[in-house]
Symmetry: C2
Subunit: 250 residues, 2 copies
């Protein structure tokens, strides 16, 4: 913990350094995914588990929205709910994620039931929802700052998956294209917010810790996928078993 106040530029640099070290772009599962080195069943497992993250994002945004004090702040944050939930049935990020799970051959009912989810996914995502509900508004906003690093990973994922997997088409990846525009707008707002609202070294430390926490949320989801479906490929009891699974079931 630093005991001197960073300038806004120094705080941004410190946040970006955390991203460089801890963002899940560096995780071996991401590297396998975008390099085309996963079987279809492993891509299914990723899409299925990641669905739970997508569908809980509005829960965490709504709990923050409920605590924001001004109409200006609430309007800004409300746009995230619109992005994910849409304005009509079949629109919004969650519906677009289902294009992906459909595209890789999963049934909507099975996906949305979350019956085949890895416990590690559920616990990591729920930890994020609880964090945003229980911590300060400043920490809750800061925990969204992984979006600073999203455009690069999304571009890698889209290009790599389209190139390498014959079961992935442009429309399967409908989720990602709008995120290339939404994520930078969201993260610019959140970055400015933490720069303006972290007035003490302790608050700046809390902001950095919130980003570390969030990187852990994303990273450990890929740990769970890698363990269950890549190596040692031991699927926890009751979880999704791909048709082409080469390992064992716990």
């Amino acid at each position: 913990m630093s005991d001197t106040l960073m300038t806004p530029a120094e705080l941004e640099a410190a946040l970006r350094e955390i991203g460089a070290q801890r963002y899940h772009r560096r995780h071996p599962f991401h590297k396998l995914l975008h390099a085309g080195r996963l079987r279809r069943g492993q891509v299914q497992a990723w899409a299925l588990n990641r669905y739970y993250y997508q569908c809980q994002i509005p829960a965490k945004d709504a709990s923050l929205l409920a605590r924001l004090p001004t109409p200006e702040e609430r309007r800004e944050w409300r746009s995230r709910l619109v992005d994910h939930d849409g304005d009509a049935p079949g629109t919004g990020g969650i519906a677009r994620w289902l294009k992906l799970t459909q595209g890789v051959g999963l049934d909507d009912g099975y996906v949305t039931s979350t019956a085949g989810l890895l416990p590690g996914t559920r616990f990591a995502v729920d930890a994020y929802v609880h964090f945003v509900r229980e911590r300060t508004i400043l920490e809750a906003v800061a925990s969204s700052l992984t979006e600073l690093f999203a455009p690069t990973i999304i571009s890698e994922r889209m290009a790599g998956m389209l190139e390498h997997y014959d079961f992935i088409r442009e429309e399967t990846l409908a989720y990602f294209r709008p995120r290339l525009k939404q994520a930078p707008m969201d993260s610019a707002y959140a970055l400015n917010y933490v720069q303006q609202h972290a007035h003490t070294p302790e608050q700046q430390t809390a902001v950095l810790d919130a980003l570390r926490f969030k990187c852990n949320v994303l990273w450990s989801q890929l740990d769970a996928l890698y363990f269950a479906y890549v190596e040692p490929a031991i699927i926890p009891p009751g979880c999704f078993v791909p048709d082409d699974h080469h390992g064992t079931q716990g």
Copy 2:
């Protein structure tokens, strides 16, 4: 979900069947641990991470205690707090767990800081605390029922660790011996409680689901350990790195 009410004996049998399939005694990390096939650094990682589970148990018990309606029920549940927190400094289950972490060569300050903890451990344990805080009293009590299966795994662990690891001595395992008596008393109470209080098929289903949830909490902690320290042995950023680590760091 069944729509007929089970007898108390049928409910117990259904609970024991869940344990037979999902309790972490079947996890490959447990098998490596008690068979003596782990390096000292891997046993350190297990003891360090499991400390966080131990130290959060009183948090979950206290939150249930706060919601129990009668002095009789509260006195019964209070004994769990006494077991874990003790009656004086240096007594109780948490202090005895530190005998284990000390015995395998870890510094108390590092262990209790939880600085080197795997995110997967933290999220799983926190999920348990939140579950007990947020679900019905019936589900909270039911989630403790993994203790039905504890004596077998504890016996295996004690015998296996003493036999196979020269850095483990009888007093290092001080935590476990009292648990051989406490766990059956606790689980007998909790089993009777859910048999008496689950009056509908829906409540019985909730009891079974609570035990499945808790098995996942224990299982996924071993998934995270296996992934980081056994295979593929990729330690998440910022987590404990044993001196004898053979893999990489994320």
